[in-house]
């Protein structure tokens, strides 16, 4: 049994916060990327000859929708490796 003091509580809170941060922060990019992918599928189904440009635009839009997820990853890494 480890004696519980302040540093252990801070470490536990930081790790818990990192988990929550990644879990909640992944919701938005998930919804956004799914939306982009679905719309791209609709576009390709309507005009199959435009598959190349649509896929390219979809990748860029995916990357931009991912940004908020990346920010939460940064915060989670800070919590894991700097705070705790």
């Amino acid at each position: 049994m480890v004696p519980i003091d302040g540093t252990i509580i801070i470490r536990a809170a930081a790790l818990l916060g990192a988990g929550l941060c990644m879990g909640l922060g992944a919701i938005g990019p998930g919804i956004g990327e799914g939306f982009v992918g679905g719309k791209a599928c609709e576009g390709i189904a309507r005009q199959p000859e435009l598959q190349g440009p649509i896929t390219r635009t979809m990748l860029i839009a995916d990357a931009i929708a991912e940004s908020t997820g990346i920010y939460s990853l940064v915060i989670a890494l800070l919590l894991i490796f700097v705070v705790s």
Partner: protein
């Protein structure tokens, strides 16, 4: 098991008040990647013929794709930025895919490489924007649509650097962790399920290979493409 640790070496030079810190793994793999690309360039130059072989066809396809892409985004000035964008793509794709060699960590799973590339793109974007539009127009662009948007525009530009470099870093770092974890976990689960000869059983090896193929090659190529295309997009947007 600490999969995230990066070995660093610190040293001081006599007469200088700084402490230098280098990551020998990253440095070595980066130089290996640069050397491999250099040798590939020389090889392509040697073997290129009028009727192309397999390697020449592949390289010409990649280059033609990026030439088309730069022409679409930049119009007349595509020749200025095509070498930069293609070099970024080639460097990032080789350094992402090098992690399929066992024991080698890809240099892009170290934040220093990614942040360096991101800062380089940032500087190039702004210098090219100033040279293309002139300093006055460039500064005016920050006060658009009206005066109060200045801090928002500045923060947006800084956020671009962070998201651009952390996207590559985050994907490759997480992929590296998953690659490092899949093998031991499959080994332990196989031990619990009492698979005979667990270390050489095909299913454990297959799981590791699938993880490496997906996170090393598939995600690696997509992220390298996204990195190069976003650099091109930032350049094109800043020049408008």
């Amino acid at each position: 098991m600490n999969v995230a640790q990066i070995e660093t070496v610190t040293f001081t030079l006599p007469g200088l008040p700084f402490i230098f810190e280098i990551n020998p793994n990253t440095l070595l793999t980066t130089w290996i990647v640069i050397g491999a690309l250099f040798l590939l360039g020389i090889l392509i130059r040697q073997i290129s013929k009028l009727i192309p072989g397999k390697l020449q066809t592949a390289v010409e396809y990649i280059f033609g794709y990026f030439i088309d892409f730069c022409k679409q985004s930049l119009g007349e000035d595509w020749k200025k930025f095509f070498p930069l964008v293609t070099t970024l793509f080639l460097f990032v794709v080789v350094s992402n895919c090098i992690c399929v060699i066992p024991g080698v960590k890809s240099p892009t799973s170290d934040l220093n490489t990614c942040l360096g590339l991101g800062l380089m793109v940032f500087v190039i974007v702004h210098i090219s924007a100033i040279r293309h539009k002139g300093l006055v127009n460039y500064i005016k662009g920050y006060f658009r649509p009206f005066f109060f948007f200045f801090p928002l525009n500045v923060l947006g530009d800084l956020g671009k650097v962070i998201s651009h470099s952390f996207r590559l870093f985050g994907n490759m770092f997480a992929g590296g962790i998953i690659i490092a974890l899949v093998g031991p976990i499959a080994f332990k689960v196989g031990g619990i399920l009492a698979i005979p000869k667990v270390a050489t059983s095909p299913i454990v090896i297959l799981l590791s290979v699938i993880a490496q193929g997906f996170y090393g090659i598939f995600i690696g190529i997509i992220q390298a493409f996204v990195f190069a295309v976003l650099a091109l997009t930032y350049i094109a947007v800043a020049r408008e």
